[in-house]
Every structure is written in structure tokens, then in C-alpha cells.
């Protein structure tokens, strides 16, 4: 994930940073780089072309802000264009006057429709609504039982007719049940289908006509490649798509499909699946996605996660220590525990801006954490609080105790000293986080 879009934009903008004004040729070069970067992020080529043209237009028509450098202006324009395509503000489901609201889930096989349907049901139930799940995937073996089990877990009733073969009829009866039971939403799960399968696409159209959905959500795997445009177009021909659900966003996919899908359907991404539990459905934030794509890091999400992981007084104590530049291995250990709670280190790292350039290659950060931890835990409390007493024999003991080598212990101590030095500089107000190779802090932080 480190060779991602972020590093490309970083390269472009680093070059831009040193320039006062941009010539047309330079703009072309930047746009070419942006094009390549988006392609590498799996944005469909057609969308990339249109997007780049849009950015060019905005760049040419843009007012010159005296307060912004050319680099900042380009970032601003690209960012705005990305957010524009992704759907602007975070959007929820359409409100309806007369319940039940009918929500149709459509998508390719394996995109995560059934799981997304159950997550959505739980999400609505959490908001005090009374949804019904309708099991209209009659093709995949055991799809009905899967939805029944998930419905049970979510505490949501499921309309299922095991053995039925007429999907539109099942959908219609589910709607009748919702009316009879006075429920507020019906979420219709349909079979996954290849968009080139005319028979199945016609069936989807028939289900849609049978229940006349208020909301038709196209479920799309965040890992989808160039094919996203073809898929979106084929579904648009059969049903009136009103929104996109992006699933499996908790992986390291760069999410280009989100851009493609939004662009082709003209619909916003409304929800994102971010995990395997039924609670792991979030409203989609176009601005965050844009900064993720732009390589400005996902600082907002990072802060949210940090808030969850660090207790308030712990954070205050930490702040104190950082201010006084009294940072010890003990503190570091405490931080490591908190950071661990935020998820895999590699993932957290991806949210930090400017991390694309770190020369770590395929090194497995998450496998290294326990090693570092073992070294620190093999120190005595006195050693942790005062690393200066770590002489050769202590280091040898620590290496034995942690199952590592003296060289590794030495390296850790050396890196730790560098960080302390860096913190002294920071708390002294001079210089920024340049001492750790490759580490750059988010704008506005650490100064």
C-alpha cells in the first residue's frame, strides 16, 4: 500500500512546491501524473479522462488566490473535483412520506450484497426504525439461510420462502408483510448476477417493477478494477440506481472504483462496509475518501480512532510528557498498546500523510511490533525510565530475555534516542519533525 497514489501526488506536489507559477507545460505534466496515479488506483480510464479534463478546466478558470502556493491550489482543485464526483456531502437514505420505504440491493456476485443488506438493517434498527429483510436471492445455494442467520444476529425479521423460485413474487409478498406488520423499511436482497447475463438482469428489472423501490443501492467491491464502468452501466440500464454501497473498504484497495461508480451512475456513495461485523457499516464521507486518494492522509479518521484508543487522561499525561520532553520507554510501551487498539500498524500508517514515501518496502510492521515490545518488556523499570544506564551487559541480558540480538537492542535504543532528541526540538519550538528519516507530520501538527 505504500507505493500508492499518495506517493505519486507527493512527488508531483513536492516538485510544484518549489515553483512560483505554473506554465501550461507544467500543468500538462501534472495532469499526466494525476492521470497515471488515478489509473494505478483502479479508476476506470474513461472516468480518469473526464476527471482530468474537469480539473484542467477548473485550473484554467480558477481565480488566483494570493494566499495559496501553486501546489496548494492544485491540491485544492483536485480535491474539490474528487469530492464533486464522489457526491459532495455525506448522504443518507431518501426519506419517504408513506412507509414502508423499499430498498433494493443489486450488484455482482461476491460484492457483498447479503452482508451489506444485513448491516443496513441493523443500522436502521439502531436508528429506531423497524426494517424487514427480504430474501430474494433464490439462486445461490444457502443464500436464504445466510440472510436468515444474519437477520437473527441483527435482530431484524426476515421474509424468506425457502424453495421458492419466483423472485419478484417473493419480493411482492415481503412488501405485503411489511404493510401488514406496519414496518418502516423493506430491504430486498437479490441474487448476485453477471451484468452480461440478460436473463438475470431481466429478473432484477422484474423484482424492481414488483416492489417499486424508493432506493436502489448498487453494491460494489472496493477492490473492483477497470470493469467498474461496464458494471455500473449495465445495472443502470435495468434499474434506477440511487446510490452506491462500497464494500470491503477495510482492505488496502485504493478505492478507485468509488470514483468510477459515482461518476457513471451520477449517484453518491452512501455507505461503506468497513469490517466483518454487522456494525461495520459507516456513512460514506466523500471528503475523507478524497484526501485518502490525494495522499493527504486520512487524518480525520485517524483522530477518531485515536480518540477511541487513547483514554482522555492518558492523552493528557502524554501531552505533559511530550511538552517536558521526558519521554521514556515506559511511555512508549503505553503508546504502543494504544496504537495497537487502532488496528494494524500498516493501516494506521496509511492514514498518516506523506507516509507513501517511507522506504520500508514489504517489511512487515505488524510482525515487528511484538519484537520491539519484547525488547522493552525485557528491560527493568529502572532501565525503561533511564535508558542511559543501559551498558553492554544490560543490553546482552535484554537481548537474551527478549529472544532478539544485541544488535537489534542497540538499534532500538538508538532510534529511541533520536525520537527523544526530536521531541526536545519540538517542545523547544524550533525545527519540525525532520530527525526521523522520512517522517513528516501532518500540516499543523507538531509545530
Amino acid at each position: 500500500m505504500f507505493d500508492s497514489l499518495s506517493s505519486r501526488f507527493d512527488d508531483i506536489f513536492t516538485r510544484l512546491r518549489n515553483r512560483g507559477r505554473l506554465s501550461d507545460k507544467q500543468v500538462d505534466e501534472v495532469l499526466r501524473e494525476i492521470r497515471l496515479a488515478l489509473l494505478e488506483a483502479d479508476v476506470s480510464l474513461r472516468v480518469v479522462k473526464a476527471f482530468v479534463a474537469d480539473v484542467r478546466e477548473r485550473a484554467q478558470g480558477a481565480e488566483i488566490h494570493k494566499s495559496l502556493s501553486p501546489a496548494q491550489q492544485v491540491i485544492k482543485i483536485v480535491n474539490e473535483a474528487l469530492i464533486g464526483v464522489l457526491g459532495g456531502e455525506a448522504k443518507g437514505l431518501v426519506p419517504v412520506d408513506a412507509p414502508p420505504r423499499v430498498i433494493l440491493m443489486a450488484g455482482l456476485q461476491g460484492s457483498g450484497k447479503t452482508t451489506a443488506a444485513a448491516k443496513l438493517a441493523k443500522h436502521l434498527r439502531g436508528k429506531g426504525r423497524r426494517p424487514l429483510l427480504a430474501a430474494c436471492d433464490l439462486r445461490r445455494p444457502a443464500a436464504t439461510s445466510q440472510l436468515q442467520l444474519l437477520g437473527e444476529q441483527a435482530g431484524v425479521p426476515v421474509h424468506a420462502e425457502p424453495g421458492a423460485t419466483d423472485a419478484p413474487a417473493v419480493a411482492r409478498r415481503a412488501l405485503e408483510e411489511a404493510h401488514a406488520e406496519n414496518l418502516t423499511d423493506v430491504i430486498v436482497d437479490t441474487s448476485g448476477r453477471m451484468h452480461v447475463d440478460p436473463e438475470l438482469m431481466a429478473e432484477l428489472g422484474a423484482v424492481a417493477r414488483a416492489v417499486e423501490p424508493h432506493e436502489t443501492l448498487l453494491v460494489c467491491d472496493a477492490m473492483t478494477g477497470q470493469d467498474a464502468v461496464n458494471v455500473a452501466e449495465a445495472f443502470l440500464e435495468e434499474v434506477e440506481v440511487t446510490g452506491v454501497v462500497l464494500t470491503k473498504l477495510d482492505g488496502d484497495a485504493r478505492g478507485g472504483a468509488a470514483l468510477s461508480m459515482s461518476y457513471v451512475t451520477g449517484c453518491p456513495v452512501k455507505f461503506a462496509g468497513v469490517g466483518e461485523k454487522l456494525d461495520d457499516l459507516e456513512p460514506f464521507h466523500p471528503d475523507r475518501m478524497a484526501s485518502r486518494i490525494l495522499g493527504m492522509g486520512d487524518v480525520l479518521t485517524l483522530i477518531e480512532k485515536a480518540e477511541e484508543a487513547f483514554e482522555a487522561d492518558q492523552a493528557r499525561r502524554l501531552e505533559e510528557r511530550l511538552r517536558k520532553a521526558e519521554f521514556t520507554f515506559e511511555d512508549f510501551l503505553e503508546q504502543m498498546q494504544a496504537v495497537k487498539k487502532m488496528g494494524p500498524l500498516s493501516q494506521v500508517l496509511g492514514m498518516l500523510p506523506g507516509m507513501g514515501k517511507l522506504p520500508i518496502g514489504d517489511a512487515n510492521l505488524d510482525a515487528t511490533m511484538p519484537r520491539v515490545e519484547a525488547i522493552i518488556r525485557s528491560m527493568t523499570p529502572r532501565e525503561r525510565n533511564d535508558p542511559s544506564i543501559l551498558n553492554g551487559s544490560r543490553r546482552a541480558r535484554i537481548a537474551r530475555g527478549s529472544g532478539t540480538s544485541v544488535q537489534e537492542v542497540n538499534r532500538l535504543i538508538k532510534q529511541f534516542e533520536q525520537v527523544r532528541k526530536l521531541m526536545r526540538q519540538m517542545s523547544g519550538g524550533k525545527g519540525r519533525a525532520r530527525a526521523v528519516p522520512g517522517l513528516r507530520l501532518p500540516p499543523g501538527i507538531g509545530s
Binding site: 460484492s111 445455494p141 445466510q146 478494477g225 477495510d250 482522555a312 494494524p344 505488524d366
Partner: protein, 382 residues
């Protein structure tokens, strides 16, 4: 509070920075010394999902199809290469992509070989999900060759492109599935929704048709009703199924299935695993554990990674992670019956050296074909 959060973020940056610096210097050092990488200390305890492992008391037991069961004498034969079943359908199924690229080549060259034409060729490859790197490399190679050989016609350029793409697949890669003395164990892995269970159904049917006695292990104990789905495929394919309760330890399911296969003299055990994102360390560790558990009592002959042809560049990251966790021996490229071209397969084979072995071209029992680089490339280019 805001400053506190800011400092927490700084703390994260520091922790992250420290560990990154540690890793970097470790790597630099071991490179200097010419040493093997040692930073992969895998101390992490596999956590599994949800944490609770159901006690094995209430096992689901074995579902047997109505098949007769003469215990096959365990032969000590060396691994046998499975002969491939050739079906003529690939070309038809890939007709769309063929027309697509062929059209692109013709369009691009219609106006003569200017820069735009070459850009269009590159774009065509990118749209087939080969990735910008592969596309650029192929086009620049073809461009140089075309110039050197004075090739300017559509057919000539297409032939060169086919050659350059084909060169990225190893000619001598083992593409047949390996089956050793019974019971042979095949592990099927992949991210969520790529078609693992369906693929297992197809493989089992194919193997059963060759007269092998097949048992499946429902080691996807996480997804709701995954075992029922596999059961339906087992019935269709004429295979037996070993399953536990939902939430049971997947390693235990595989282990029991192996004991069952051995006791009944089955030729082949196919283990279905839960889909997992390749970025989730504990889940990848769990997969490594399933393999270790099986290898305590038996032999894993194949670890098949199921890749979705609609996946883009992320497919490479998936293959890399799964290969690191379980030693993938081959790739099954699924959903090639849509408009997706599966171009990422080129990079997976070239960069990771993992052979593509099978392709999935539909939802029927018979919609599984051996992967043939020549036909794959021809189908791409027309």
C-alpha cells in the same frame, strides 16, 4: 482536549516512525551483511474471529452422498499430473474482450503509428486491468521491436503484443493440479466474495468425474450458512462433506476431515476456508495455522488462491499476502465470463512467479477450465 488528541496523533506518528526506522535500519543492515531478513518475528497469537471457539462436542458430523464406498487401497505412487480437460468455451466466453482489444488495436493503428496510437494501445491494456506498469512496458517493448523490424500493420503489431504478453507467462510453469498418494489435501483461500466455494464445487465435480473420491472440509465456519452452501455443491459434485458447528475452529475441521479422508480411503480432501481480507494479520495467521494443523498429519499438495477477474491492481497485493501466509501454489481466476479481462493475472504470474492454473467462466458445475497462456493472451488480443 484537541491538543490532547493532536498529541495522541503525534504519539502515533512517533510510534509508527520509530518502528519504521527500526525496520528500515534492520533491513539495511541485513542487506549490508548479506543476511536473510530476520524482522519477521511472528509472535502474534492467531486470534481468529469473534474469539470464541466452540467446543467440539456438538460436531455436525459427516454428510455422505448416496455413493458406494469401496475403500481405495492407498497407493504409494508419486504425485501424478492431472491431465487437463480442454473445453472450447474460453474463446467464446472471452469474445467480448477479444473484440474489445482487437477493435482498439485497429482503431489505434488506423490513423498511423503516431504517439496517440501508442497511447491508445497502452490505454487498452490498462483497461484490461494489466496495470500501468505492465501496459507501459509491453507497449514500449512492442514499439522498439516494431521500429527495429519495420512492422507497421495491424496484424504485425498485434502479433508482437501477443508475444510480449505471452513472454510474461513462464512456458514451463506447472499448471496442472498436483495430486499425490491419497489423501491429497488442497487448500482453497482468497478474499471475501471471489468465488471460493463455487470453485471448490467445480473442482470436486471435475475430480469426481475422473473417478477420484473427494471429501470437502467446511472450514469456513465464520460466514453465516457457508457450510450449507458448500453442502449443496458437495451434493451436486458427488463429494462427501465434513463440517462442524458455526464458529468452530477451522483448523479442527480440516484436521477431522483429513482423519475422515484417511479412514475412508479418499483420494482428495478439499478445504474451504473463510474469505478474509489480506490485510488482516490475525486472519492471515489463522490461515497459516490451518495449513500447519493439516501438515501435522498429512500433506498439502496445493494451496489455490481464488482471484476475482474483476479485481483491479489490488489483486497483486492479495496474491502477495496470501503467498506469504500460506505458500500459494496456484491461482484460480474466476468470473471471466463477464466483461472483466483479468489482466492482473499477468502481473501476478510475472512478479510473484505464481502460476495461474484454472479459470472460472460461469456458475455451472462444468464452468472451470485449465488456464492456457496462449489462449488467454489470444482471447485478450483477438
Amino acid at each position: 482536549m484537541i491538543t490532547a488528541v493532536v498529541f495522541a496523533v503525534v504519539a502515533v506518528a512517533i510510534v509508527v516512525g520509530l518502528i519504521v526506522a527500526f525496520v528500515t535500519t534492520t533491513r539495511a543492515r541485513s542487506r549490508q551483511l548479506g543476511l536473510e531478513e530476520d524482522a519477521e518475528g511472528r509472535v502474534v497469537e492467531p486470534e481468529g474471529r469473534g474469539g470464541v471457539n466452540v467446543e467440539p462436542e456438538g460436531r455436525g458430523g459427516v454428510i455422505a452422498p448416496p455413493a458406494a464406498e469401496p475403500p481405495a487401497a492407498p497407493s504409494a505412487a508419486p504425485p501424478v499430473e492431472v491431465p487437463e480437460a480442454v473445453r472450447p468455451a474460453l474463446r467464446d466466453r472471452l469474445a467480448r474482450s477479444r473484440r474489445f482489444l482487437a477493435g482498439r488495436v485497429r482503431d489505434a493503428l488506423g490513423a498511423g503509428l503516431d504517439d496517440d496510437a501508442w497511447d491508445d494501445l497502452e490505454a487498452a491494456l490498462i483497461q484490461a486491468d494489466t496495470g500501468v506498469g505492465t501496459a507501459t512496458a509491453v507497449v514500449s517493448e512492442v514499439r522498439a521491436e516494431a521500429r527495429a523490424a519495420g512492422v507497421t500493420d495491424v496484424d504485425g503489431i498485434r502479433t508482437l503484443m501477443a508475444q510480449r504478453l505471452l513472454a510474461r507467462f513462464a512456458a514451463d510453469a506447472p499448471r496442472a493440479l498436483t495430486i499425490g498418494p491419497p489423501p491429497s489435501v488442497w487448500l482453497v483461500v482468497g478474499v471475501n466474495g471471489t468465488g471460493k466455494t463455487t470453485t471448490i464445487g467445480k473442482i470436486a465435480a471435475d475430480q469426481a468425474a475422473r473417478g477420484r473420491r473427494v471429501v470437502m472440509a467446511a472450514a469456513d465456519t465464520f460466514r453465516a450458512a457457508a457450510d450449507e452452501q458448500l453442502e449443496a455443491w458437495a451434493r451436486r459434485a458427488g463429494a462427501e462433506l465434513v463440517k462442524h458447528r458455526p464458529g468452530a475452529d477451522p483448523g479442527a475441521v480440516a484436521f477431522d476431515a483429513l482423519a475422515h479422508a484417511r479412514a475412508r480411503g479418499h483420494d482428495l480432501l478439499i478445504v474451504d476456508t473463510a474469505g478474509r481480507l489480506h490485510t488482516k494479520v490475525p486472519l492471515m495467521d489463522e490461515l497459516a495455522k490451518i495449513r500447519r494443523v493439516v501438515e501435522k498429519e498429512g500433506r498439502v499438495d496445493e494451496v489455490l488462491l481464488v482471484l476475482d477477474a474483476t479485481a483491479g491492481q489490488n489483486g497483486l497485493a492479495q496474491a502477495r499476502s496470501f503467498a506469504a501466509a500460506t505458500g500459494v501454489t496456484g491461482v484460480v481466476l474466476t468470473k471471466l465470463d463477464g466483461t472483466a479481462k483479468g489482466g492482473i493475472a499477468v502481473a501476478v504470474e510475472q512478479e510473484l512467479g505464481i502460476p495461474i492454473k484454472l479459470i472460472g467462466v460461469g456458475e455451472g458445475l462444468g464452468d472451470l477450465e485449465p488456464f492456457e497462456p496462449r489462449r488467454f493472451v489470444e482471447a485478450l488480443l483477438g
